[in-house]
Structures are given as structure tokens and as C-alpha cells.
């Protein structure tokens, strides 16, 4: 690796100050599972790396007035072990479990996964299907926005170089919302998604679908919502046919590409099947643990 300086940040406020102090050739390091891989093969490395891996204030998982807050530095392994997340959102645990392997999940953080911004990121779909919002901190203070608006394109986000992603918040009204995440990779471990999908929904009167959300990864420049499929399901009686139809509609909303992992055609088939199964899974969770919306 090319030479750089490393400065450790005590907390998020300190990190923001350090980013300003060392601008413009500066970058944040969390778990390093994306950044170090990138720096090893790059001829342009920042002069200074701000190590935020010990910033305790970014590591909390808590229910607040706004909803469920997950700090940007929470690792995928910590998501898998969190009793609160396991109880409210088993889909987030499932999604974390599909990332890399044990070693990657012990270092890799939720924030790093989102900021890297690759279309196949496995934390994105579930959070977007739960209308998650994010908090960004910077020299001008805090700002919040829907996670879905954070992504601009492959590896591009709205984050400015002097800002930190601080937390992800699943809004209060969605706590416990039945959700399912499914990933299709070429192997069970150490494989990026060919397609990943999350679906969430509330069920009223035992069978009516309310506020469905479908989020698709690895099939467009960013994680996307399948808005037409959601509109089709809204207020509709949930049947196997309706879920299959929503899967078919979702295909038309994605723009999958052909690469060395799979053809666009294969990915389109996967979208239909995985969307249907994710809806079935969310519906099964809704029936197993009825909560009226």
C-alpha cells in the first residue's frame, strides 16, 4: 500500500473536525473491508486516513423517539447478535448474515456498506423497504434524509467529503413491520448478490395488503423500489397469484446488466421469483405475528 497518515477519531464530533482539518486529501476508515481493498490496488491514496473504528457514539443500537436507530459503525456481526433487531427485524439479521463470511462481518460496518454504494450491497434493500432514514453529520451540523435519496449511482452518494454517515433510523411507524430479505449469489458464502430483494408489508383484516414496499438490489445503478408492483399490491387481497403478479411487474422496473456473474435475462427471471418469495416470506411473518397497521 502507498503511504498515508492515520489519525484516530475519539467520536463523531472529533472525526468531523479531523476531516475539516485534513481536507481535501482525507478519507474515513471504518471496518476497512472495502477501503483497504481499494487502497491496496490504487495509485491515489489520501494523505490522511481518519480511523473512526473506535468512535463509540456511532456504535449504538437503540429505540429512540424516532424509531430504531442503528449507528453507522455497528458491524454486520453485531446486527446478527442484537436482541432488539432480532426481535423486530429478522430480515435485517438475515441480510447481515449473507454478507461475505464471518471475518468480513466482524469488521465490516453498516455505514461502510451504505457509503461504498455498490448496487449489490446487501444492507440496502431491507432498510429501503422499511423507509429507513439516515443522519449525516458535518461542519454545518446534522441533516436527515430518506436512505433511498442517499444513493446517486454506482459508488456515488450525496455524502460530501467533509461529512460522516452517523446513523440509520427505521421510523417508529415501521417497528416490527413484517419483512423478508432474499439474496441470490452463486455460493452461500463470499459471493456478491446477482439479485437481492426485500419486501415489507402490513396485513389488515387477515388478508389485505397495506403499505407494501419492494426494494431490489444489483439490478440497477442503485437499490431501487419497485413502485408499480407496490401500487398493484396496495389494498389488494393477498393471494399467491397476486404475489406472483407483483414479481412479474417488478421485472419491468429494473435495468439489470449482463456481466461475468450472470446475464441480464437470468437476472430478470431471478427478480420475478425472488420478489414473489420475499412477499410470501413477509406475509408468512405477518400471519405468524399479527400486528394491526
Amino acid at each position: 500500500m502507498r503511504a498515508f497518515e492515520v489519525v484516530a477519531a475519539r467520536d463523531s464530533r472529533h472525526a468531523v473536525a479531523l476531516l475539516a482539518e485534513h481536507a481535501p486529501s482525507v478519507k474515513v476508515l471504518a471496518g476497512g473491508t472495502d477501503l483497504l481493498v481499494e487502497l491496496k490496488s490504487s495509485s491515489h491514496v489520501p494523505a490522511v486516513i481518519i480511523d473512526i473504528s473506535r468512535a463509540r457514539d456511532l456504535k449504538t443500537i437503540a429505540i429512540t423517539d424516532e424509531g430504531l436507530s442503528i449507528g453507522a459503525l455497528v458491524t454486520h456481526a453485531e446486527i446478527m447478535r442484537s436482541p432488539i433487531i432480532g426481535e423486530m427485524f429478522p430480515a435485517l439479521v438475515d441480510a447481515a448474515h449473507t454478507i461475505g463470511a464471518v471475518q468480513t462481518r466482524n469488521l465490516g460496518t453498516l455505514g461502510g456498506n451504505l457509503v461504498t454504494g455498490v448496487p449489490s450491497m446487501d444492507s440496502g434493500p431491507t432498510l429501503i423497504a422499511l423507509d429507513a432514514r439516515i443522519t449525516i453529520v458535518g461542519p454545518a451540523g446534522r441533516r436527515q434524509m430518506p436512505l433511498a435519496e442517499f444513493f446517486l449511482g454506482p459508488r456515488k452518494t450525496v455524502l460530501k467529503p467533509d461529512e460522516l454517515l452517523a446513523e440509520v433510523v427505521i421510523p417508529k411507524e415501521n417497528l416490527g413491520k413484517p419483512t423478508q430479505f432474499l439474496k441470490f449469489g452463486l455460493r452461500r458464502g463470499q459471493a456478491l448478490a446477482l439479485v437481492n430483494v426485500a419486501a415489507s408489508l402490513w396485513v389488515e383484516r387477515g388478508q389485505v395488503c397495506v403499505r407494501p414496499r419492494i426494494a431490489l438490489g444489483a439490478v440497477a445503478p442503485t437499490v431501487i423500489r419497485a413502485l408499480k408492483a407496490e401500487a398493484y399490491l396496495e389494498g389488494r387481497t393477498i393471494t399467491p397469484e397476486a404475489m406472483a403478479e407483483a414479481g412479474r411487474i417488478s421485472v419491468g422496473e429494473a435495468k439489470p446488466i449482463t456481466d461475468f456473474r450472470a446475464s441480464a435475462e437470468y437476472r430478470r427471471d431471478l427478480i420475478a421469483v425472488l420478489t414473489k418469495r420475499a412477499l410470501e416470506g413477509a406475509y408468512a411473518r405477518a400471519l405468524a405475528k399479527p400486528v394491526e397497521a
Binding site: V37, A101, G189, Q190
Partner: protein, 162 residues
């Protein structure tokens, strides 16, 4: 240069290294602990797996300064002069390694698993080894060896494999 102090295999050790030094380079080049291997250098193969504060990580993807003040366990910290660790013994008895390059990483992944789940299912063992690539022996004997070691570590009677 950055000063790094790590508790390695129960011993406090210090080195002064360039800040971009990985934990793997610190262990191998400064501390002469060459059990953790440099394989792919990008987190795919797991040959560099060590335990930091008990958790398995790829030492190639952690900076040495990030391990400052923490406990690191490498394969050199498992056996004593007169006794192999029960996981190492089980691997030997089962012929679970051929070339051995992946061995230190695999055994440390197994240790992290057994520390947390003393009685793992074979699926849990597979999940724990998903980040450790073996290209010669294969995984069947490793899984058997880990199940065997788990019984030994739980204090249950074990027969030497045939």
C-alpha cells in the same frame, strides 16, 4: 511512524511501523509470527485469519494501528511445547490438512466458533469456515475434526478416529 502495542498470544509486544502497515504485516514482519499467511491480500481467502478480542478477522484488512491495545491470538498461541490444542490435535488425528497453508486460519475460525458455540451443528461449522478457502483437503475432514474437538473440549469421552 506509528507506535503499536498489542497483546499477542498473552504477551505485550510493541513495534514502530509505517501507519499503512496491516496487522498481518505487523505480525509476520515485526513479530516474526508467520503462522498467519499472506494469501489473496483482499479478504477472500482467510489464510490470514487471526482472533482480535476473540473475533475472527482477516489480518490483511485491518491496520496494525487499529489493533493497538487489543488482544490478538495467532496460531502460535494455541499449542504449548508439550501439547497441541485439542482442535490442532483433532486436525492431526483426522488428517484434516494436506498442504496446510489454510490451516492456521481454519483452526482459528474453528476456535472462535467453539468459544461461542461449544456444540455447533455441521451447518454452523460450514458457516464459520465460509471465509477460509481450502484447495486441497476439502472440508469434510475438517468438519469431522471440529465436531471431534468440540466433544473433547466439552469434556466428553472421545475415541481416536480409525
Amino acid at each position: 511512524m506509528a507506535n503499536v502495542t498489542v497483546n499477542v498470544n498473552g504477551e505485550t509486544r510493541t513495534a514502530s511501523v509505517p501507519p499503512e502497515t496491516t496487522l498481518l504485516a505487523l505480525l509476520r514482519d515485526s513479530f516474526n509470527l508467520t503462522g498467519a499467511k499472506l494469501g489473496c491480500d483482499v479478504g477472500d481467502c482467510g489464510a490470514c485469519t487471526v482472533l482480535v478480542d476473540g473475533a475472527a478477522v482477516n489480518a490483511c484488512l485491518m491496520l496494525a494501528v487499529q489493533a493497538d491495545g487489543r488482544d490478538v491470538l495467532t496460531i502460535e498461541g494455541l499449542a504449548t511445547m508439550d501439547r497441541l490444542h485439542p482442535i490442532q490435535k483433532a486436525f492431526e488425528d483426522h488428517g484434516a490438512l494436506q498442504c496446510g497453508f489454510c490451516g492456521p486460519g481454519v483452526i482459528l475460525s474453528a476456535k472462535a466458533l467453539l468459544d461461542e458455540s461449544p456444540d455447533p451443528t455441521s451447518q454452523q461449522i460450514r458457516d464459520a469456515l465460509a471465509g477460509n478457502l481450502c484447495r486441497c483437503t476439502g472440508y469434510t475432514k475438517m468438519i469431522a475434526a471440529i465436531q471431534f474437538a468440540a466433544r473433547a473440549l466439552r469434556g466428553e469421552p472421545v475415541d481416536k478416529p480409525a
